[in-house]
């Protein structure tokens, strides 16, 4: 089974959407207080959940069209984007420990998928 560029584009777009969704969830979570209106009027949480759902649709569409072992490493785009959003929007520190942890996780994902071929 070959993996066409369209399948790669779908998965890449899906992971990008997922990372943006996670950033919205974080922004919405920070805005939460003990008052119920902070949840009821929290459009950021809603956008976050919605983007997560949409990203899974793109993901499934992409995976149905290509090889999982080629497509799964592309999830890494999502992780790297999330690190970027964390730094840009939430001013989190991207330490070498974090980069090492993410690197190991990505290597693990690739190995797992090579193993399931």
């Amino acid at each position: 089974m070959n993996t066409p560029p369209s399948a790669m584009a779908l998965v890449l777009f899906g992971s990008l959407l997922g990372s943006v969704g996670a950033a919205f969830l974080k922004a919405g979570a920070v805005a939460l207080t003990r008052h119920w209106t902070s949840l009821a009027y929290n459009w950021k949480l809603l956008v976050g959940v919605f983007m997560y759902l949409i990203s899974s649709v793109f993901f499934i569409m992409g995976i149905a069209r290509g090889e999982l072992s080629v497509l799964y490493p592309m999830v890494s785009l999502g992780y790297i984007c999330t690190l970027a959003w964390s730094r840009i929007f939430f001013h989190e520190k991207i330490t070498s420990t974090k980069l090492a942890g993410v690197g190991l996780i990505l290597v693990g994902i690739v190995m797992m998928n090579l193993g399931s071929r």
């Binding site: 992780y79 964390s86 974090k98 942890g101 993410v102 190991l104 996780i105 693990g108 190995m111």
Partner: protein, 140 residues
């Protein structure tokens, strides 16, 4: 002088922040277990539907207990993730969710008797080590 500064306890606010960060990490670890349970339940439930239409799938979510529980688990997963993100760092917690893959592949062997080869075992181990590295770095 340096010994004096290291002996000075950190301010209470800082201890509180570190505690909250650790709690966030523990919540997300629970999240990954619930997320894995959701995937296994969905796999169980999806086995009952063969090539469903969008409509049949939608009805299945409401009538099939496995699918219903699976999606309920996803709901709990999302709620817990938001609670964790209130005080936790996104750059730390988001990659930890990858632990999901590890639990699912272990559960697949236990429940569905799927084949596990050395490369898969190594992959799962490397993911767990990566999460451990993040956990250590994050609590500092």
């Amino acid at each position: 002088m340096t010994s004096v500064t290291t002996l000075t306890p950190p301010p209470a606010a800082e201890i509180d922040l570190a505690k909250r960060k650790r709690h966030s990490l523990i919540i997300v670890l629970c999240c990954t277990v619930i997320g894995a349970a959701a995937q296994v339940l969905l796999k169980f439930g999806a086995g009952h539907l063969s090539h469903p239409s969008l409509w049949q799938a939608a009805i299945g979510i409401l009538t099939n207990p496995y699918l219903f529980l699976g999606y309920a688990c996803y709901g709990i997963f999302a709620a817990l993730l938001v609670i964790a993100l209130r005080h936790g760092e996104l750059s730390l917690l988001y990659p930890v969710i990858a632990l999901n893959y590890a639990w699912v592949s272990i559960l697949s062997v236990v429940i569905f008797h799927e084949h596990m080869n050395p490369l898969k075992i190594a992959g799962v181990s490397v993911i767990i080590i990566g999460v451990a590295v993040l956990g250590r770095g994050g609590s500092k």
